[in-house]
């Protein structure tokens, strides 16, 4: 592969300061600097340009997977991670690299104005190099995002089973979101455990936050209720809105063995009545 012309490198080194100014301006113009301190950005651009110059100086070629590019790659990986944390998307992160194109191109244009063939060759090389570096940034960015999402999913799995004690002997489990198989397993286990721990007699499962009740959700509910009953406790399903009730009927689900209520308040009232708690006559 043809390598960068020595005089290209000289031009870059020479116009170092001007390149940085134009680069930062391009980043700002494209909203790729959101939430980034001016000082941080100028440090990042300065460091990376220096890294780039160092590698090019060593004549390491365009193969960024090679060890000569280690430091530059690591720099971009750190950059990706920090952009992900700032809530940027992959394009904004990669734009850090792509924004350098125009300043570099116009520099080369001036520099090789009397040698179009060389200009074309050098532009191509620089462009290819920046593309690879940009792609690397996108790839690492996505990896970081995936890791973040995975962690959030795991956290959500725990968060989403907040069994709360409503009254002595009454537990409530407000379900929110999708009840995929893994989640419903966690939900069921933690509810059963809390029933044992607290010696509760009645558990209320509130499905107000579950948008779709299909056969899978119904099956999970039925299993949970059966398990609760086997433990000698009772269960009420609340949050069965009118549209859900109608859908359940058409679906052909037989929830006749379950006690259901339209909302949590009604379910609690029923639970207290069963426990023999006097609610006062005015209600």
């Amino acid at each position: 592969m043809a390598s960068l012309h020595g005089s290209t490198l000289e031009a870059i080194k020479h116009n170092h300061a001007q390149l940085l100014v134009q680069w930062v301006a391009a980043l700002e113009a494209n909203g790729a600097t959101r939430n980034i301190k001016e000082q941080t950005l100028s440090q990042e651009t300065r460091d990376f340009l220096q890294l780039l110059i160092d590698v090019l100086q060593a004549d390491s070629g365009n193969d960024i997977v090679s060890s000569d590019w280690d430091e530059a790659r690591r720099f971009l990986e750190r950059l990706s991670a920090s952009r992900a944390q700032l809530g940027h998307d992959s394009h904004q992160a990669a734009y850090f690299i792509f924004a350098l194109k125009r300043p570099l191109f116009s520099l080369l244009q001036t520099h090789f104005s009397d040698d179009p063939a060389r200009l074309a060759e050098q532009l191509w090389l620089i462009s290819e190099l920046l593309d690879t570096l940009g792609m690397h940034t996108i790839r690492t960015f996505q990896k970081t995002r995936e890791a973040v999402i995975k962690r959030q999913q795991e956290e959500l799995l725990e968060l989403s089973t907040p069994v709360v004690k409503l009254w002595d002997g009454v537990l409530a489990l407000p379900l929110i979101g999708t009840l995929d198989s893994q989640r419903s397993q966690t939900v069921m286990e933690s509810l059963l455990q809390r029933i044992v721990d607290t010696g509760s007699e009645i558990a209320i499962i509130d499905i107000t936050g579950v948008p779709t009740v299909d056969t899978l959700v119904a099956q999970h509910l039925l299993k949970t209720v059966t398990a609760i009953r086997l433990m000698g406790a009772d269960c009420i399903i609340s949050g069965v809105r009118p549209q859900i009730a109608q859908t359940i009927v058409h679906l052909g689900l037989d929830l006749g063995t379950l006690t259901t209520k339209a909302n949590l308040a009604d379910a609690l009232k029923l639970a207290l009545k069963r426990l023999g708690v006097n609610l006062g006559e005015q209600v």
Partner: protein, 134 residues
């Protein structure tokens, strides 16, 4: 209403079932479908998309917003190239399942929509089309 009137969504993994539901919900609500009908349609989508993943080995959901003779509707086609259904009559019996389900997905989905069409060829795959009018 949005400019796009048809499209396709991969239905390969469990997570895609969630996306299929979300898309159906959006299409239906963009057409101004009532909450009850929308809930029914989304539930049918949940059943069919899950069948596509679990039994069909994955497939696609083609969607279409229909506007004809003064009425609006949402049509969805679930297609896979899985094993197909050997005994269609049995599969369309309430409570029959070859797996661990309740055996209500297909029959339930049929009751939840206005139009329901099932084509299946053993060894070639399954196509289920549902339509809900507004």
């Amino acid at each position: 209403m949005s400019g796009e009137h048809s499209g396709s969504l991969p239905v390969r993994i469990e997570q895609d079932v969630v996306l299929a539901r979300q898309l159906a919900r959006k299409l239906a609500s963009d057409c101004g479908m009532r909450l009850v009908d929308l809930t029914k349609l989304v539930t049918a989508v949940s059943e069919l998309a899950r069948n596509t993943v679990v039994y069909g080995g994955g497939g696609d959901m083609d969607w279409q917003v229909l506007e004809e003779a003064g009425r609006t509707g949402v049509r969805l086609l679930f297609r896979d190239e899985g094993p197909g259904i050997a005994d269609l009559k049995l599969a369309l019996t309430d409570g029959w399942t070859s797996g661990n389900g309740l055996g209500l997905g297909l029959t339930g989905a049929r009751r939840l929509v206005d139009e329901f069409e099932l084509d299946t060829v053993p060894g070639e795959g399954t196509r289920v089309t549902i339509t809900r009018w507004i």
